[in-house]
């Protein structure tokens, strides 16, 4: 199962850029659309300690808010091992 969950909304450019980034790196992920999926929205707010802004990324034990390629790359390497 994919280790990475991402919480997104349909018209958010950061979310689209995040998905393209993960796909390009051939990293498996599950994406939730929190605009329609209320359960996922609740879960996102829960794990992120109240964040109501997308994208939120959950990987290994970490929750990251927003898409910043540099810091995400670092976290991916930590979570998935080198070569991520």
């Amino acid at each position: 199962m994919a280790k990475i969950k991402i919480y997104t909304s349909p018209k958010c450019p950061h979310c689209k850029m995040l998905k393209e980034f993960l796909s390009k790196k051939k990293i498996d992920y599950i994406a939730y659309d929190v605009a329609t999926d209320k359960e996922a929205l609740k879960e996102m707010i829960n794990i992120s300690d109240g964040v109501r802004s997308v994208p939120v990324i959950s990987l290994c034990d970490k929750v990251i808010v927003g898409f910043n390629q540099g810091s995400l790359e670092e976290e991916l390497t930590k979570c998935l091992g080198t070569g991520a």
Partner: protein, 382 residues
């Protein structure tokens, strides 16, 4: 020499400044010690030489650097760029493309690629694309620029500039300093904050600046939109589709496009407060309300909301140069029609400048102009 604190200091200074050097270890009585004495006339290490020319000890080195004597000698610096571009929005990317095509040694430093374009869903006014998603346009920009093998540092914030010498110095938040013969500032704009208590603490926890992104997360909620211009009206319409109740709070009467204003006024969900100021955003772990104050009566009231969308305009990212370059009353860098600032070799373009009409196509055109002007400058300096 071993056990010489100023030798260590001199080495780390040179490393930090990106200045190439080789080290000759000396100890009293050695051949190297004699050489040092012969070349510099001095007996105490460290002694720093530029070729065969003695610079002096550690404090002479720092002085030589501060007065620009060292950096004026291009061979000494690890990499000397023709042009450094700060900013990866439309203006900076277009400048990078033109610089790369002129085969200039170019470095682009930016916190992100895309700039403000990331805060909008789609565009309908960029020539050649009747409708394109922002993420796709940015991907196209990036792909085009990368075709020329652009050197870039993304995710880095430029924290200081030294524009006093002929060689410009650019320092980023990771402590690295870069050197260049010319500089293009394309740092654009950022959302203007309200600067009220609670705002910073609750960013992302109900305080939002991107309605396109975050409006859908407030389904069934009561929310407030702060601002009275076009972007605030657009935010209200984004929220109108999902929220339960929308309070629109503005210091002034509403301004903006009449059609959008009409739609907002017609919505039964919207309650408009004009001539009201925001005094506080309330909430501990997430937004619980916003406190507003009537400009007419001074009366304060609390609106119970889960979200506060702040749409009160933009601020130019000119903090780096506010004391160095001329700016207008909005803080925008003043440029002429060649994108020149008051300092030779320093150019600016796009939204951070006084160029009228802030649009992607205008910023992109302006970036191209800045790059061509930098090219002319470099030729004139040869």
């Amino acid at each position: 020499m071993e056990g010489c604190p100023f030798c260590i200091k001199a080495k780390s200074f040179l490393m930090e400044k990106g200045i190439r050097f080789s080290e000759i270890k000396v100890h009293p009585g050695s051949k190297e010690w004699a050489q040092m004495q012969q070349k510099t006339g001095m007996r105490i290490p460290p002694q720093i030489l530029d070729g065969d020319e003695p610079i002096g000890n550690y404090s002479d080195l720092v002085n030589a650097y501060a007065t620009g004597k060292l950096t004026e000698k291009p061979g000494l610096i690890s990499t000397l760029y023709d042009v450094i571009i700060i900013g990866g929005g439309p203006a900076g990317l277009s400048a990078a493309l033109y610089a790369a095509r002129k085969i200039l040694k170019t470095l682009l430093i930016s916190q992100d690629i895309g700039g403000q374009v990331i805060y909008t869903y789609d565009l309908n006014n960029y020539l050649g694309f009747s409708q394109i998603e922002a993420a796709d346009l940015i991907a196209k920009f990036k792909e085009h620029v990368e075709k020329y093998g652009l050197e870039k540092q993304v995710g880095k914030k430029v924290t200081s500039l030294d524009l006093t010498g002929k060689i410009k110095k650019v320092t980023s938040d990771d402590g690295k300093t870069y050197f260049s013969k010319s500089l293009i500032i394309a740092t654009g704009k950022r959302p203007r904050p309200l600067n009220v208590p609670g705002e910073r603490e609750l960013i992302g926890k109900g305080v939002a600046y991107c309605s396109t992104c975050d409006a859908p997360l407030f389904g069934g909620a009561d929310v407030a939109v702060i601002g009275g211009g076009n972007s605030a009206l657009e935010a209200v319409l984004d929220l109108d589709k999902v929220a339960n109740k929308i309070y629109m709070v503005s210091l002034t009467e509403l301004t903006g496009d009449p059609i959008t204003m009409d739609k907002v006024k017609k919505s039964s969900k919207v309650k408009i407060y004009t001539q009201y100021d925001v005094t506080r955003i309330i909430g501990s772990s997430s937004v619980e309300g916003v406190e507003i104050k009537s400009l007419n009566t001074g009366e304060i009231q609390k609106l119970d909301v889960e979200g506060v969308f702040i749409e009160i305009g933009l601020l130019p990212n000119s903090d780096l140069v506010i004391d160095i370059l001329s700016t207008n009353k909005f803080g925008e860098i003043l440029i002429d029609n060649m994108c020149k600032t008051g300092i030779a070799g320093v150019f600016a373009c796009g939204d951070v400048t006084n160029v009228p009409f802030k649009q992607v196509i205008i910023a992109a055109g302006d970036g191209a102009k800045a790059s061509l002007a930098a090219y002319n400058y470099l030729i004139s300096q040869r």
